[in-house]
Structures are given as C-alpha cells and as structure tokens.
Amino acid sequence: MRTLFKNINVEIKNLISRKARSFLTILGIIIGVAGVIVIISLGAGAQALVLGQITKLGTNIIGILPGKSDETGPPAAVFGVQIKTLVEADVEAIRNKTRVPHAIDIVSVVRGNVTITFGDQSIDTTFTATDGSYVRVQNVEMDRGVFFSDEEGRAAANVIVLGYDVADQLFPNGGELGQIVKLKNNSNSFGSIPFRIIGVQEKLGTVAFQNQDDQVFIPFKIGQRQILGIDYVQFVRIRTDTPENVKTTIIDIEGVLREQHRIKNVADDDFAVRDLADAIKILTNITDALRMFLGLMAGISLIVGGIGIMNIMLVTVSERTREIGLRKALGATSYKIRNQFLLEAVILTGVGGIFGIIIGIMISYLIALGARYAGYDWSFVISPIAIILAVFVSSLTGIIFGLFPAMKAAKLNPIDALRYE
C-alpha cells in the first residue's frame, strides 16, 4: 500500500513534468465524457419535457376528432382542415350513460380568434368555447375567481374566464372580476357580445411553443353559434372514471358514433377516437428517434475524444520507447514498466473522467437552468449509465493506446528501445 502511494506520487510528478501531453490526454477524455453526459442529458430532458406535458393532462383522457385517420398518423384536423361531421347530436348520444358507462366528463370544444375589448383597450387573443367540465378534464387551475359551472355552460351564460396574460394586459391594476368585456369575431359580421368576467386562470407559461396565458374561455354554445357561427364540434374530450376503462370506453364511443353516422364498415369511419396512450406512443417513438440521434452524436464526441487520446499517445511513442529503454537499462523489469504505464493511464483517465463528469453535469445543469428561465418545464436528467459508459470507453481508449505501445517497447532489448527512432 505504501509503495502504491509512493508510485502514485512519483507518477504524478512524471505527468506534471510532461504538462502538454498529460493535458491533451485529459482534455480528450474530458471532451468525450462531458460530451456524452450533456448530449444524453439533453435528449432525456427533451423527452421528459414532451411526455410530461402530455401526461400532465391525465392518462384517463380520450379525444374525439372528426375525420378518418389511420392508427399511427395524426388526424386530418391537426392540419387545419375543418371537418363538419362531428355534431352536438353525437355528443348527446355519447352522454347516454347506458351506452358509454365509464365516461364521467364529456366536453365539446371549438376554438377561434377573437378581439376582446374593455373600455378603449382591445387585444386579439384566442378563445376556447367549452363546457363547465372542461375544468376537470384539462386540470384547469384558477388564479382567482371561478371557472363557469356545467349549468352556466349549458345555459350559454355570458360569462368569461381570462388567461393570466389577457387579464394582466386589460387590467394591469387588477379588479377585473365582475367587469364586462366585449368579444368580437373579426372574420364575420356578427356584432360584439358582452361577457362578465368570473375568473382568471393560473399562470401557465409556454407549452409546446404556445403561450398558454394568452387565451380566454367562454361557454360552448355562445362560442360555437354566436361567435364562430358554426353548428359542428371541432373536438370532444372525455374523462373516464379510471385509466383502466379507457380502452372499453373508446370501443363504446366508436360504437355510438358508427350508429350515429350509419357506418357499417370500420374502414369507413369519419372520426378518430384516441387516448393519450396513443399520443404518448407516437411521441415516444419520435423522441426515442431523437435520443438515438443524440446518442449517435455522443458516440461521435467519444470518438473525437478517443482519437485525441490515441494521437497524443502515438505521437509520443518514440520518446516513450527511449524512456522505457532507459528505465530497462537502469534495472526496471517489464512488469514494473507495465505497472508504471498502467498507473499513468489510470491517473490520466481518472482525472479526465472526474473533470469530464463535473463539467458535463455543470453544462447540463446550465442548459436546464436556461431552459427553465425560457419558460420550459425542463427536468435536469443525468443518466448514470451514460456516465459509466463514457468513462469506460474513454478510459479504455486511454489505457489501450497508452499501455499497448509501452508493453511492446518493454519487450525490446534495452538497447533497441534506447535507440528507437
């Protein structure tokens, strides 16, 4: 044990006497290890961000979109095509408890752009017209006031819930509850409709590049008929009693809708019923591909680091071979030379590995901080497997390319090693 410490001491002295070489080797390992950690952390963080936003909505949510779609691709409505086949009669049929027993909350939704005016202030925003149960389906949290009730929704009462930023812009000094604002759709000739403010939604920030605080909520019927002037439903969201009943409920809904639309053949469906599991599956596929791509980049950074280590080791082979010749001439056995070079490689890769881990984690953390500052719910993920793999691979490169030429040189006659060019 004492000799080991002594050897380590001597070896550190040796390494310090060859600053440039030691530094470049360590740098190679740092690049490899830190690169892998940062890239893997980025991939995992991005995946967690995307999937987290989906699962936050709850895993017992079902969406119905008008228009046919195949299993894996997105429905046509996603591309902005307005399909008018989903109507309120369909939603009423789904509300039938005997047909769809596990559906607890069923909300119809239409969305559009609108100008909201208070006094001489007006701003453009988007509105969501829906039912009172929306608050439970989408986990809406209120900053102040209340969301409209099921009754208010059905009665098409002139009440409105503001997004946080909308409230902030129209009422910078607060006091908006009970005030009357006017909503007008600029793309048709309908007049302005007055609404009484009953609540302000909690601040949500930006999700999927959309500012969730720049919107308002109004009862479904008013939004559909009096603002958009349409008689169809853009999409329906349903909450089931338990996540386990999602699949049976989808089958129930599909049965009801086929009956409503007089569809005999599944292939002729003019609607798509999806649950979040499907969405998560699609997104997981996409983000997994992203992560694999990033993993590939991490691999490249490992190779870059490895080539750096390899180069510096090979460049110094002749100098080191002469050194080995000298050490042998002074009485070193091959065994001692191997130990010396192994110790050297272990120290270099160890120091490089530790710094690589520290720097990699620091950069990942800074990226997470930056992403959070930019408003993303970014989680700081560090993969221990990635760290172990990166340290293992770069250490192995260092040890192989440090040790292999040394072992070869140690087998030479001392004089041949001394005279090596």
Binding site: V10, K13, N14, S17, R18, R322, E323, L326, R327, K328, A329, L330, G331, A332, T333, S334, Y335, K336, N413, P414, I415, D416, L418
Partner: protein
C-alpha cells in the same frame, strides 16, 4: 574472474542480409580493472559493450558474469543485474527530461530493494561534485554536469562495474577531463570500469586498452602509466553555465 567472454558473435539480419558485427570475441576482465575498448566507428566496440552490459544479447558464444552463465538468466534476472550490479553511462546522458537532478538519480533506486532513496542519491551526487544542484531540472544544467548526474545515477546502487559508452563524446575537453577523473577515482576505490571510446587520449586513462576492428580484437595492451587529470573538489563547479 568478473567477466569472461568466449567466442562471442553478434549478427544483425536486415531483411535477409546478415551483417556480422562481432566475429568471435574472447575476453576476460578481472575485478578492479579499468578497461578501455577502442576502435573506429563501426568496429563493433559499442555492440560489444552493450552485450557485456546486459543491454543486448549475443547471437552465439558464452558470457560468464561472476562465474555465472547469463544464458541461464531470464529477463527479470537480467533487469536485477542491470539494477544492482552494474551501472551505465551513455554518450547522450539519457536523463529524464524536465525532471530534477535528484529524481534522475533516484530512478534506479525505485527499481531496487534499497531504502532511504533521497539520502543515497544525495551522497552519489555529492561524490560527483553536484551536491549543490539537487533540485535543478535536468535541462537547466550544462553537458558536463549532465554527464556527472549520469555517473551519479550509475553509482547510486553501488555496482561492481560501471560501463561508460563514449562518456566524453558530447563534452568539451575540460568537462571530459572532469568526467574521466571521476571514473578514475571510482576505479581507485575498487570499482571495475569498462569504457568505450574512439579517442586515444581518453583511452589512456585506463590501465588496459583493447582495440577492436571489424568485429575482432586486434590488440590488448597494458597501460602502465594511466593519464591523470586535475582533481576536482566536491563543491567546486568547473563548468558553470
């Protein structure tokens, strides 16, 4: 008899072309001798010394060191002999670069079982007049000082024989004289010195001179009046930079 060579040959095979460097050398060296091996370049004198000094192996022939046949030694045993029983001084010094004088001299001790490395190395450096240069780096001292460090390194494990391969070859005459003087003193203290040189003036420090030409010994003469250079004092530094 300390060293006994019988019909030693050395051949190099360069892609089918066999070069005979040593053509049957027989030689005996007694303990305490100061032997100079002379010869023009390419004569095989260095090869001969590398074989005697365990840095290379002969192609054929017998080599008895202290009455033991070195054919029976494995690589580790040869390493032990190089470490404990002989010391080597090279023409090009072969010090570890960017390493202190003291650490250079400690280097052979790290491969030995000896303890108290710093003390032994310091004593060896004092013996060559470099007691005041311990912490200097090997690239901060002059050529003559480097060679004296190399002698201290050869000396530090207290060997029976010191081999010197053109030890003055890279030095000016003043530094060369100092180095030869130290070797002469080590010989008078009872150590066997084997020296390779092409320079008659250097060879005349020895009390026996053999001459090699084309891989064969052509003369073996006793030098009854070895040359002496001026003595140096331990703390006197002749070749300050």
């Amino acid at each position: 008899m300390l060293i006994e060579l019988k019909n030693i040959t050395k051949e190099y095979d360069n892609g089918g072309v066999v070069t005979k460097v040593l053509k049957g050398i027989s030689l005996s060296v007694e303990e305490g001798e100061f032997l100079a091996i002379m010869g023009p370049s390419g004569s095989g004198k260095s090869t001969l010394m590398h074989i005697i000094g365990f840095l290379d192996r002969a192609t054929n022939g017998t080599y008895l060191f202290d009455n033991e046949n070195i054919k029976d030694f494995n690589d580790d045993e040869l390493a032990y002999i190089r470490n404990e029983r002989i010391g080597f001084v090279f023409q090009s010094f072969n010090l570890l670069a960017r390493t202190s004088v003291l650490d250079n001299v400690i280097l052979p001790l790290t491969y030995s079982k000896k303890k108290d490395h710093i003390n032994l190395a310091t004593k060896a450096l004092e013996a060559v007049g470099l007691g005041n240069r311990l912490s200097f780096l090997s690239n901060q001292i002059s050529g003559g000082q480097k060679q004296r460090v190399a002698i201290a390194r050869a000396l530090v494990c207290d060997p029976k024989v010191i081999f010197a391969d053109e030890p003055t070859g890279n030095l000016d005459s003043k530094s060369g004289n100092t180095v030869m003087n130290i070797l002469g003193r080590l010989n008078s203290e009872g150590r066997t010195i084997i020296l390779v040189t092409h320079d008659r003036n250097v060879a005349e420090h020895a009390n026996r001179i053999i001459t090699i030409k084309d891989g064969e010994i052509i003369s073996d003469e006793h030098n009854s009046n070895p040359r002496k250079s001026q003595m140096i004092e331990d703390d006197q530094d002749i070749e300050l930079k």
